[in-house]
């Protein structure tokens, strides 16, 4: 079944822009990215949109659809009423380059600032050994496709530009948690998480988990466990004392 869909797309660049209305043919089973491509092919040849796999695995086509951060390739047009105006804007947390394309350099800068993996020495036979149950917890975080929707929706930086200097965002706090939980890693990331990456800024309102297209439980499985680890180090006098007298070494 085909119908004329009503799109409202943000057009512009860093100097300014506006929402423009378009009417575009929509076919059954199509996703928003399909319709954006048809708009580009038939009416707006200069429309800038970043995309790659069209399968929810590359994390390129992040945008905001009717105000919600989503991947355009995973948002079916069938979820909207046929007479509904579907508003598509670039991610509103990052500087816009043009139309639906944003400059996500902030994320790469934060990634570069993270302390890397520091494994313990290899076993005598030159191998690293660990068991599946030791790594399966952090394997969930490896599903991340770096679409940066969690970074986009996080109000800490979305609503407060200044916080970008001191806050790494859920994606990179999750990366810290992943490394801190790793059975082979030796670096204690709790201090970095709290003092350099702004973990204390997170108020666990779970928007990052809500928008994650991979369904990663970012808040429950990464951010809160990392906050609890920081409590061990910084706010829990008993754990602190246990570590001081050697009864509770870092696990």
């Amino acid at each position: 079944m085909t119908y004329d869909g009503k799109l409202r797309v943000w057009r512009g660049d860093e100097t300014g822009g506006e929402l423009r209305d378009y009417t575009v043919q929509v076919n059954e089973g199509e996703v928003v990215l399909d319709v954006i491509h048809r708009l580009q092919a038939t009416q707006a040849g200069d429309l800038a949109v970043r995309w790659n796999c069209k399968a929810g695995k590359c994390g390129s086509c992040s945008a905001e659809i009717n105000g919600k951060p989503r991947l355009m390739c995973l948002t079916r047009m069938g979820t909207f009423a046929e007479d509904e105006v579907v508003t598509i804007t670039p991610m509103r947390t990052f500087p816009v380059i043009r139309d639906l394309v944003t400059d996500v350099s902030y994320n790469y800068e934060k990634a570069a600032a993270l302390p890397g993996f520091e494994p313990r020495p290899r076993d005598a036979d030159g191998q690293h050994r660990m068991q599946q149950i030791d790594v399966e917890r952090s394997q969930e975080f490896r599903k991340c496709i770096e679409c940066f929707l969690c970074q986009d929706v996080c109000h800490v930086v979305r609503d407060h530009e200044d916080n970008k200097k001191v806050y790494a965002g859920p994606r990179f706090l999750m990366r810290l948690a992943e490394l801190d939980m790793h059975p082979l890693d030796t670096f204690d990331r709790r201090k970095v998480a709290q003092d350099n990456m702004g973990l204390g800024m997170c108020n666990i309102t779970k928007c990052c988990s809500e928008v994650c297209p991979e369904g990663i439980h970012i808040t429950d499985n990464a951010l809160i466990p990392m906050k609890e680890r920081v409590v061990d180090r910084k706010y829990d006098p008993l754990t602190w004392l246990g570590a001081k007298i050697g009864r509770r070494p870092h696990p």
Partner: protein, 271 residues
């Protein structure tokens, strides 16, 4: 094609910061994003009003063999029939509930789920995902008083003591009004359900999950703790549900005792 001319951007911060797409609207969501925070406010405010009235009422909290969870343990000598020992000799004009409720209140106030609920619904930080918050500055949980939420695990420990006390109360509910064992009424079921819900809420807590095994990096070296962590992790998936249901459970159990204590209702006895 028509063009929507943008209104002047009202604020230079947040989504209106220089360089970002110029969109004047605070949000572009078309769904009923306000419904969830509204319901949260309505329910929590109702509970706060009810529990405040009951805490200051300082009466109608005991009906043999039941004692309201708001007033348990009975730390003064007001429990009819001296069923409970007198543990405390504070000023009689201060309701004992005010001493007791500090721990459960602290546990819920610092709970990771309730934090999400009240940050969103009361403080609107943010009111919903991708809906701009009204505050100009934001420091999260890095300063007093919100940094105090990091003591959650201590309220968790203290809360376990209260769970044990309320479980004891549920066991005492297998007596009749004369203190004889082997009896049961509707109130017994109410008390058992309340204690069960409180245990589920406490054991599904994120701090409990961390203490049980979350702090470990090598589960294979701690198989028992891994099993415990796995179990708590399963419960943790429903922590929000247990947080709400146990809140209703406590209030309804208190209401049940009040109805009995004021003779508005008589406890149906099974045997």
């Amino acid at each position: 094609m028509t063009t929507i001319t943008p209104a002047p951007v009202p604020h230079a911060e947040g989504t209106g910061a220089p360089g970002r797409a110029t969109i004047a609207a605070r949000h572009l969501r078309t769904d009923r994003w306000w419904l969830q925070p509204l319901i949260t406010v309505a329910v929590l405010v109702s509970f706060i009003i009810y529990s405040t009235i009951r805490a200051f009422e300082n009466a109608h909290y005991f009906a043999e063999p039941y004692i309201s969870p708001f007033y348990s343990p009975c730390i003064v000598d007001a429990c009819e029939g001296n069923s409970f020992p007198k543990l405390f000799d504070g000023p009689s004009f201060i309701s004992p509930a005010l001493y007791i409720l500090v721990i459960p209140l602290g546990f819920r106030l610092t709970c990771y789920y309730y934090r999400k609920a009240y940050y969103r619904s009361f403080w609107m930080s943010p009111p919903a995902c991708a809906v701009a918050e009204p505050h100009k500055k934001y420091t999260g949980e890095t300063r007093v008083p919100l940094i105090g939420n990091n003591v959650h695990r201590y309220f968790f420990y203290a809360g376990l003591v209260f769970n044990a006390i309320l479980t004891y109360d549920a066991v005492l509910a297998f007596r009749n009004a004369e203190g004889e064992w082997g009896h049961m009424g509707l109130g017994t079921l109410v008390f058992l359900l309340n204690a069960t819900l409180l245990w589920l809420y406490s054991l599904s807590c994120h701090s409990c999950r961390h203490i049980m095994g979350g702090r470990l990096n090598s589960f294979s070296r701690h198989p028992l703790r891994y099993k415990g962590w796995t179990l708590v992790s399963k419960l943790n998936g429903s922590h929000m549900k247990y947080a709400w249901v146990s809140l209703f459970g406590v209030a309804l159990t208190d209401l049940y005792v009040r109805l009995l204590a004021t003779n508005a209702f008589s406890d149906p006895r099974f045997f």
